[in-house]
Amino acid sequence: MKNIKFKGVKFLLIVFFLYCLLFIFDNINALNSISKSLSILVTLIPIFIFIILLTALINYFLKPKQILKHFGEDSGKAGIFYSVMGGILSHGPMYAWYGMLNDMREHGLKDSLIVIFLYSRAVKLPLLPLMISIFGVTYSIILNIYIIIFAIIQGLIFDKFKKLY
């Protein structure tokens, strides 16, 4: 395994410090927070395994040249389509996908497609029945169509202004 460069170490230290403060001033809620965090971690383990396997499969089947073809500068409408579909079909928290996206980015994935992928994740297929039961079918359809439209718009804006960042 190549030398691992850890990301977010400072962030983790800040959170650790926050927990130290909580333990001093609000011991019970600090324990509650740890218990909630652990239960979240347990529910995320299958998603983490899935993402590790998916990243391995992408790296195995999609060589850098193919990534450039499907998700690079010249990927066009197909790249947008794949990003929207990928975002809709991806599960788990957004941060769980950062590693895979960064990996693909290093192989040529366009930033605007990352933007489209991340916002398309707002279309939550598993939550659709719950959404329909609360807001109705018409509302759910309209909202999800707007989400896809605005995800694409964000990607296009990102492409236009990429020199700014």
Partner: protein, 144 residues
């Protein structure tokens, strides 16, 4: 040939596992923060922020949804409670959408992976889009 492919997949797996390990501190930090937020921020606290007009509600909904964290289903369940309390559809739309897609808590993590400028630019766009989507959805609903 088969052996060669197996070695290649093994390498791909090790590489992907390494990528995952590299962002592990960041993920542990986020999960630990989510635990704190879920302990201290309650749904009754959230409902007290709404009811000050359409535009204020949309903005407040987006803002609170961005701060609040948790599984998407929790966001919808809170929204159901807020709906029963008479909170406007503008507020509910922006709140649930921001809940599932925005997260101030994730900003340091996103910045450490993709860079600060990318993260700021993307999140500003996402924040504005959420406001527009909430507004457009309710306006379109009126046509039906």
């Amino acid at each position: 040939m088969k052996i060669n492919q197996e070695i290649t997949f093994k390498k791909a797996f090790i590489g992907s596992f390494g990528s995952f390990i590299s962002i592990l501190p960041m993920m542990v930090a986020i999960i630990a923060l989510v635990g704190i937020f879920q302990t201290y921020i309650t749904s009754s606290m959230i409902s007290s922020f709404f009811g000050y007009g359409e535009f204020t509600d949309i903005f407040t909904g987006t803002f609170i949804g961005s701060i609040a964290v948790g599984h998407g289903s929790i966001g919808f369940i809170i929204a159901q409670g807020l709906k029963e309390q008479g909170v406007s559809l503008y507020a509910l739309s922006s709140f649930t959408l921001a809940w599932v897609i925005l997260g101030f808590i994730q900003l340091p993590a996103e910045a450490s992976v993709f860079g600060v400028k990318f993260t700021i630019f993307r999140n500003i766009l996402a924040f504005i889009s959420t406001i527009f989507i909430a507004y457009c959805t309710v306006l379109t609903m009126r046509l039906f």
